[in-house]
Amino acid sequence: MFDLTGPELHEALTLPSTLSTVEIVEAKATEYAEKAGFDEDTASQISMVSREAAVNAVLHGNKKDPNKQVRATFSLTSKDLTIQVADEGEGFDPTSVPDPLSPEGLLRPSGRGIFLMRAIMDEVNFRKLSPGAEITLVKHRN
């Protein structure tokens, strides 16, 4: 998934399990999306799904546990923008989320975060950590 020539830009942040982390990840994703040259709408969508990944890590993964941290990495290569968000929670099964486009799913107030990631990014990968879970979001630059 990474450009073998290595990243042009790379940053790794270790952040607390608070909602301020969500804002930090969103702002950093916006900064990288703009550096990657995406148009305003696309940059806004990338920032929004990065925010979703951070919300999942803080609320569902770490459950706002002050002893657990969120690690967010941002990498920009000539080909891709890659954003990874990892938590230290109990892990996450992405197949457990009901389809938000199903007739009953449409009126559910939650469960659209993962769907939006998949709809907006070119690649979305989930990895189980010990402990925790990692979401990798990739958008091709072209």
Binding site: L19, R51, L106, L107, R108, P109, S110, G113, L116
Partner: protein, 114 residues
Amino acid sequence: MSMNVKIRHVGGVTVLDLSGRITLGEGSIGLRDAIRDALAAGSKKILLNVGDVNYIDSAGLGELVGAYTSVKNGGGDLKLMNLSKKVKDLLVITKLLTIFDVKENETDAIAAFA
């Protein structure tokens, strides 16, 4: 920046002018409170003007769905107007555009409330 709500009454319709961000936390709670207050005040026809909403996340979409369900369950009608391209794109992706009655402008929206 969180969400702001201004309330107007036009021809028997309660218009909520929303601006800012409808996101997890203050923004989504602000919308929920505004809908609750409008319903408690007896409003049955509620129009959400989202023209100045510049950012919305999945929690914000959830609040819009919650608003729709609350108003419908209370025997009322909820419509949206002035969707920006950004907000409309999200409603298309999530198929929520099939749920909401969306109008281009206030004149059309007010006229559409029977």
